[in-house]
């Protein structure tokens, strides 16, 4: 049946399962209230769970860098301690754009608590000892 003829078409969303390289094409059907009625197309239960989660509340870990002054390198990597709602990924990065740390910085250092009210902290993911970056550290 072509999608256009399908009476449920606007209740269907498609996802690519990321659970393993088989990459099952998942189809999630929701009812009129937006609740998940059924997940189809999975080859194992991991896919079923993933389809439901991705449809109702997709989340992502954010990994990026922030500026560090006087460190061995110009940037130090950071991450969200837990996954945050997917629509907030870009905003989290933007919020970190103005942060500048000063070396030395230890792994696990809190960079920003409760980012954008998500309850999730941003922490540093490596030690950054003092040093002179070999090249100019200016962006752009």
């Amino acid at each position: 049946m072509a999608p256009d003829d399908d009476p449920h078409a606007d209740h269907l969303t498609h996802y690519l399962c990321i659970g393993c390289p088989l990459g099952c094409r998942l189809e999630v059907e929701e009812d009129d209230h937006g609740d998940v009625l059924e997940v189809r197309g999975f080859d194992c239960k991991k896919g079923k769970e993933y389809g439901r989660q991705e449809h109702t509340e997709p989340k992502r870990m954010v990994t990026t860098t922030v500026a560090v002054r006087g460190g061995l390198h110009a940037r130090v990597p950071v991450k969200t301690r837990e996954a945050v709602p997917k629509p907030l990924v870009r905003e989290v990065c933007r919020a970190l754009g103005t942060v500048e740390l000063t070396a030395p910085v230890a792994i696990g250092t809190l960079v920003m608590g409760d980012v954008l009210g998500t309850g999730v902290d941003i922490i540093v993911t490596r030690d950054m000892p003092e040093g002179a970056p070999t090249r100019a550290a200016q962006r752009g």
Partner: protein, 420 residues
């Protein structure tokens, strides 16, 4: 706080490890565990840790640490253990040459040239990225054509962006990860182009790096020409026919200032060639026994220098073994010699190690040539295991136990992956 400060350098070592990436660090720790005393890691970068410092994304360590870490966290955990175990680490130092007598010539700005004697050597030089020359893209030679891994280092460590409008050639994980990275840094990523009809990277990266940011992915399409005098001005992209030749009347131009190449890694084996190690023509890395020993006595190898790994966890596992065996070598212990050669057969590109012993347990790593659904991996008539699928991009690991080989009496075992 981890630092790259060298300790006092000895003239002789039990085990010298060339390259301080995850392979080198795990090997050094393995050697310590096996009882080697004086152990040295040499790395040309300012800190040991290898490629992991620039891989700031998560997805490392699920097998080894049972939690999901970022590349830097994985590197730091290892480096801390290395320092705790009083392993000497010298950085900013390049291993320029070596001979079969295990005299290692090192070179650094601060210390000049030295020759160290070592009872055993572990080669852990990792891999380098394939460049434009490897695939001969026609066109001019402007600035702005670089490998995805180099761009990753620029963005994540040095803090500068490679360009403003970027096209990515190749759908390996590094390219996909960089697509997302650049978008999050405000760069416009115009598309990922893959010459093959399938993606090379993980589905997770297709979804989380491309779909999440609406970055177009063009399969069976390649960059046919690069234009620009000093800087890249545009690229011509074209779909390809069955022989992977660009179909030029369907080509189109994309104005951009940067082309990133994510077209694979090759083991870094200049040193291996200097000492005439036997190399595997498929992996291009050294041929190794089940103790990860190369064709030169007392010279071991592990990690990406032997074959390209997609998961660092397996690098650590393989390298721990290499280090253990190097440690045993210098303390005068030997495991029974290998008596069976593994011969890649149908749909098997290579197996590592190249030989095994019938009286120990081994982890065998192999890569297939083609996708296959339900299939079985067969070791002659001795042993077979069912698999749900195989993909060239995903390394297959098999545990080979002595009891599987009880009734096998030959000296070579053919390895096939066949449909079932």
């Amino acid at each position: 706080m981890i630092t790259g400060k060298p300790r006092h350098l000895e003239k002789t070592y039990d085990v010298t490890v060339v390259g301080g990436g995850p392979a080198g660090m795990a090997a050094a720790l393995g050697a310590r565990e096996a009882g080697a005393e004086k152990i040295l890691i040499i790395d040309r970068e300012e800190t040991a840790g290898g490629i992991l410092w620039q891989c700031i994304h998560n997805g490392f360590g699920l097998h080894h640490f049972k939690e999901e870490l970022t590349g830097p966290e994985y590197a730091q955990r290892y480096l801390e253990q290395v320092l705790e175990h009083e392993i000497d680490v010298i950085t900013d130092t390049y291993v320029a040459d070596m001979d079969a007598g295990r005299h290692v010539k090192i070179m650094s700005g601060s210390q000049g040239i030295h020759v160290l004697d070592s009872k055993s050597v572990v080669l852990a030089m990792g891999a380098r990225e394939r460049t434009r020359g490897a695939i001969r893209i026609p066109g001019t030679r402007p600035a702005g054509v670089l490998t995805a891994g180099l761009a990753q280092k620029f963005v994540n460590m040095a803090g500068y962006l490679p360009g403003k409008r970027v096209v990515i050639l190749g759908s390996g994980d590094i390219g996909l990860i960089m697509a997302r990275r650049l978008v999050l840094e405000g760069v416009e990523v115009l598309g990922v182009f893959e010459i093959m009809p399938h993606v090379n990277g993980l589905n997770r990266n297709v979804v989380q790096c491309l779909h999440d940011f609406d970055i177009p992915l063009h399969l069976s399409t390649t960059v046919a020409e690069i234009h620009g005098r000093d800087r890249v001005e545009k690229v011509t992209v074209a779909p390809v026919d069955e022989a992977l030749r660009p179909i030029m009347d369907k080509a189109w131009d994309i104005p951009c200032d940067t082309l990133l190449l994510s077209i694979g890694l090759i083991p870094e084996n200049e040193l291996s060639q200097r000492i005439n190690l036997r190399l595997d023509p498929v992996t291009t890395g050294p041929v190794v026994t089940s103790t990860m020993e190369t064709s030169a006595d007392g010279v071991f190898a592990c990690g990406n220098v032997v074959h390209i790994h997609d998961l660092v966890d397996f690098v650590s596992q393989e390298s721990d073994l290499a280090g253990q065996c190097a440690g045993e070598y210098v303390t005068g212990r030997r495991r029974p010699a290998d008596n069976i050669r593994l011969v890649p057969g149908d749909n098997v590109a290579y197996c590592v190690p190249h030989t095994i012993s019938s009286d120990r347990e081994h982890t065998i790593y192999l890569r297939v040539r083609r996708n296959e659904g339900k299939c079985a991996i067969k070791f002659g008539d001795a042993y077979q295991r069912k698999l749900r699928y195989v993909f060239p991009a995903e390394m297959v690991t098999v545990t080979m136990r002595p009891r599987f080989l009880e009734n096998f009496h030959g000296d070579s075992l053919r390895v096939d992956v066949v449909p079932r």
